[in-house]
């Protein structure tokens, strides 16, 4: 782990003849963790884990959610101190008291939680701590031009440095977060799930930047749940499971990796879709709705059906899903539920037993769960009036229903009293689904629920979806992952500019067909290679 003591040579590493640019075993170790442990309360996130990344390599850190990847990144990035074990930088043990100190050691980190200051401009965020000054005072007029130049140098022209960070899209915020770190040309770059909110073109941009930095000698460590990305950029892969490393590999294939990550074989990622009964009645019918400024959107969703909604980001998916849930209501259009006209003016209307709509958003932290409250309370919140007698909650009934739901959905939690915030992302999603099942929701609106969720939990969510469809629930499912849509759905609607550009059903339903329909007439207006990035991706609130 600590074989090298000399600092890395400035500039690209010398090319060896007939071998890789670096040989991992003899290369200079830029950053390493040796037998580090970290516990949160009673939960051991890392147990005697070791990890090392060499200068000039791209090193992927993979594992299920809860395997300890993010915790390791936080230790290396100075956000948390280890309980035991040591961190080495260039072969010397260092003690990091905070992220600022890690920065002083040349360690730049993009943490999973975004850290932009919402009510400050993009320029202020990019330049904080290194603003252009005159006589000690910041030259505010020069902030935006300086930020613009910085972004243009990196090939970013679509983000306005004068906009507030709160007003740009999630993907743009992620890009700014990355830019803020890479412009300092760190010797060690740590990226925790940098691509989870990016589309292909933006990922391509990031990977080009990563290659430049690693060619210049930076050690790049990144985590991702997208296997294609990992294999396309990583020189080496370290797999984590249960808080410790399983091993470091080159040229490992996906099924091997999944087996090592989960400790078990995942047979097929996508469960078979249950057959749709021929006489399925429409559970939800939408007609003539206006989404993204264009009118005439309509479709029908049958009980027991999984109807996918795909398309590029920013085409009105979010508006549609929130609109059906009344948060805020759709501007035009009529909704019929079980054949009867329904008026949904607020989420309270949507949840109401007669309509039985439920929304599971991708951003569980801000849009659904009360993180400090226990799993039990989060599950039973909407049905408390049903569980109460004379205003007093019947604790026994609440416990029983919660226990049943935790078992039925396979929610991994030490107890029902555990705060939801302490669960992994995928399990938080399950709690949300469980809440709506308890509330007898019959129509589930699932919005990108698998984003940033590990493969094993994804698999469980897929199984849950097909099981619920089999039980007669109607599921409207938006996903940014076209493979998912192609494999799980009975039909997929591709939205473009707020209109249905294509309706795909087997056998025409393939991931390629979805992408083709999504970019059909957009390809000409942009450079045409791959997915175009739209200015807003609909994530702004």
């Amino acid at each position: 782990m600590t074989e090298a003591v000399s600092p890395p040579p400035p500039g690209p590493l010398p090319q060896g003849e007939g071998e890789l640019a670096f040989a991992p075993r003899s290369a200079v170790t830029a950053i390493a963790a040796t037998r580090v442990s970290k516990s949160f309360g009673g939960v051991r996130a890392l147990r005697d884990a070791s990890f090392a990344a060499a200068a000039g390599e791209v090193h992927a850190l993979v594992g299920e959610n809860g395997a300890g990847k993010s915790t390791l990144i936080k230790l290396l990035g100075g956000r948390l101190p280890p309980d035991s074990g040591t961190i080495q930088c260039d072969g010397r043990a260092i003690r990091l008291t905070g992220p600022a100190e890690a920065v002083a050691h040349g360690i730049g980190t993009v943490f999973q939680e975004l850290t932009l200051l919402p009510w400050m401009t993009v320029a202020e965020n990019l330049l904080i701590g290194r603003e252009p000054r005159a006589f000690g005072f910041i030259r505010r007029a020069e902030l935006a031009p300086a930020a613009d130049a910085m972004l243009a140098d990196l090939g970013i022209h679509h983000i306005d440095p004068r906009a507030l960070a709160a007003d740009i899209s999630l993907a743009e915020r992620q890009i700014i977060e990355i830019v803020r770190v890479i412009v300092r040309r760190p010797r060690v770059l740590l990226l925790d799930e940098p691509t989870s909110s990016l589309v292909e073109r933006e990922v391509a941009w990031l990977f080009a930047r990563i290659r430049e930095l690693s060619a210049a000698g930076t050690a790049v460590v990144f985590t991702s749940h997208r296997w294609k990305e990992i294999t396309s950029i990583a020189d080496r892969i370290t797999i984590f499971r249960n808080g410790a490393e399983v091993g470091t590999f080159t040229g490992i294939d996906e099924s091997e990796a999944i087996t090592l990550m989960t400790g078990q074989q995942v047979e097929a990622l996508y469960p078979p879709c249950p057959a749709l009964p021929a006489d399925a009645r429409p559970a939800l019918a939408l007609a003539d709705a206006t989404v993204n400024g264009s009118g005439g959107l309509g479709f029908s969703l049958a009980a027991g059906e999984i109807l996918g909604v795909g398309g590029l980001a920013g085409q009105g998916h979010r508006e549609l899903f929130l609109g059906l849930f009344g948060a805020p209501p759709l501007r035009h259009g009529s909704i019929r539920i079980d054949g009867r006209a329904a008026r949904i003016a607020s989420p309270a209307d949507a949840i109401h037993a007669r309509l039985g709509l439920a929304l599971v958003p991708e951003d569980r932290k801000t849009e659904g769960l009360l993180l400090p409250l226990p799993v039990r309370d989060n599950l039973t919140l909407p049905i408390l009036s049903r569980l109460s007698r004379l205003g007093v909650i019947r604790g026994g009934a609440e416990q029983r229903l919660s226990r049943e739901m935790i078992r039925r959905l396979g929610i991994r939690t030490p107890s029902m009293a555990q705060p939801v915030g302490a669960l992994s992302g995928g399990n938080q999603q399950k709690v949300l689904v469980g809440r709506w099942l308890l509330a007898d929701s019959r129509i589930l609106l699932l919005y990108d629920v698998t984003r940033g969720v590990d493969i094993a939990t994804k698999h469980e969510i897929y199984e849950l979806m097909t099981r619920l469809a089999g039980e007669g629930k109607a599921i409207l499912f938006y996903s940014s992952d076209t493979e998912e849509l192609a494999h799980l759905c009975h039909r997929v609607l591709v939205l473009r500019y707020g209109r249905i550009a294509a309706e795909l059903a087997p056998p025409a339903l393939t991931a390629e067909a979805i992408v083709a329909a999504a970019i059909h007439d957009m390809a000409g207006s942009d450079s045409g290679d791959g997915l175009a990035v739209t200015a807003g991706d609909g994530h702004a609130e």
């Binding site: 890395p8 400035p10 500039g11 956000r79 905070g98 992220p99 600022a100 920065v103 002083a104 050691h105 040349g106 943490f111 850290t115 932009l116 200051l117 919402p118 009510w119 400050m120 401009t121 202020e124 904080i128 701590g129 603003e131 000690g136 005072f137 910041i138 030259r139 505010r140 243009a152 140098d153 990196l154 090939g155 970013i156 022209h157 679509h158 306005d160 004068r162 906009a163 890009i175 300092r184 040309r185 760190p186 010797r187 073109r201 933006e202 391509a204 941009w205 080009a208 930047r209 430049e212 210049a216 000698g217 930076t218 942009d526 450079s527 175009a532 990035v533 200015a535 702004a540 609130e541």
Partner: protein
């Protein structure tokens, strides 16, 4: 910092996310949207001034002149200074309820210490402002280092400072030399505007300093600010100290106005400083706002009182109408703010 030093050549931008620039909102639109609170406060103030002038014209058949302007400015100075201090604390996502106590203490000390020579008076004034800063230091240490809730800490220190003030000056009295009054709040000309101009210049300097950026950053998101290298504890302590110094200054202006001291005269400034900050468009949850807005808010508060006075409203109902005006102004502000930022 110890970054790898590389030649400053730009990274090749062969992979651009978008080939060319997209349409951007004009610079003025950003400025308008991001300063909506400040602009609105200035507009409300302008409305109040026009309303007051109209009311004055109806009653007196002339426009307000030098005397009215001077007395308005002099009467508003203490609140304007307290509001700037409150604004700086609120920007850190704090709140300072001890304003009244510090104003009381400063006012009481001024009444008993201010005598005789010029140098003596300058020395006493500086000392009192420093005492205000020490009061702020206590608040800041408890909030920053002690990680206690600002509202609880400053509620407690409010009572403590009030108690000390009563101890210093049990009965209203003392005398402030007229020369002192003439310098701070000259009764003949609105010279006090010079002090206000100095305060605004100071604010602009703060806005462009590391400390100012830190104040805004921790008000936006404290843990992110810390991750960016902001020393949150030091920033908070200094913010409360600046606040305390400004409240003490407010107490001096109050003493100069009254030419005497009273250890309870400052009590009202706790609430009115918060009102001024809200009217000035400063976000009570921190991170957004301007001291210039807080100054506007202070003047709006005074103008409302003036308007009520000239509309011959029964003084018994004065606070009723003050409250009504405040609600209308805040609702109006919220509506306009929503309009400017779009429907979101």
């Amino acid at each position: 910092m110890g970054w790898l030093s590389l030649p400053a050549t730009a990274m090749p931008s062969d992979v651009a996310i978008r080939p060319q620039a997209v349409h951007r909102r004009p610079r003025a639109a950003h400025a308008l949207g991001q300063n909506a609170g400040l602009i609105l406060a200035a507009l409300i103030l302008a409305l109040c001034i026009v309303g007051f002038a109209a009311m004055f014209w109806v009653q007196q058949q002339r426009l307000p002149g030098n005397f009215e302007i001077t007395s308005t400015v002099n009467n508003t100075m203490p609140l304007a200074l307290a509001a700037i201090g409150q604004c700086i604390v609120v920007l850190t996502r704090g709140i300072d309820l001890s304003v009244g106590g510090v104003v009381d203490l400063s006012n009481a000390l001024a009444a008993i210490w201010l005598t005789g020579g010029v140098l003596h008076m300058i020395g006493v004034s500086v000392l009192i402002v420093l005492i205000g800063a020490v009061a702020g230091l206590v608040n800041g240490l408890l909030v920053g280092l002690g990680r206690l809730q600002p509202i609880v800490v400053t509620l407690a220190t409010l009572s403590i400072f009030q108690g000390v003030a009563i101890r210093v000056l049990p009965q209203p009295g003392g005398a402030v030399p007229s020369g002192y009054t003439d310098v701070l709040v000259n009764p003949d000309q609105p010279w006090a505007l010079v002090f206000l101009a100095v305060a605004i210049v100071g604010w602009m300097g703060l806005r462009r300093s590391r400390l100012g950026v830190g104040i805004f950053a921790i008000g936006n998101d404290e843990s992110s600010a810390v991750a960016l290298g902001v020393n949150a504890i030091r920033t908070k302590v200094i913010a409360y100290m600046i606040g305390g110094a400004l409240y003490a200054l407010a107490g001096l202006f109050l003493a100069a106005n009254a030419t005497a001291g009273d250890a309870t005269t400052g009590d009202g400034y706790t609430l009115t400083s918060i009102v001024a900050v809200v009217l000035g468009g400063v976000n009570l949850f921190g991170g957004r706002g301007s001291a210039v807005g807080a100054i506007c808010g202070a003047f709006i508060t005074t103008m409302i009182v003036n308007i009520l006075f000239f509309s011959r409203i029964n003084p018994l109902y004065q606070s009723f109408y003050e409250g009504l005006f405040l609600v209308i102004a805040v609702v109006f502000g919220a509506l306009i703010g929503r309009l400017v930022r779009g429907t979101r």
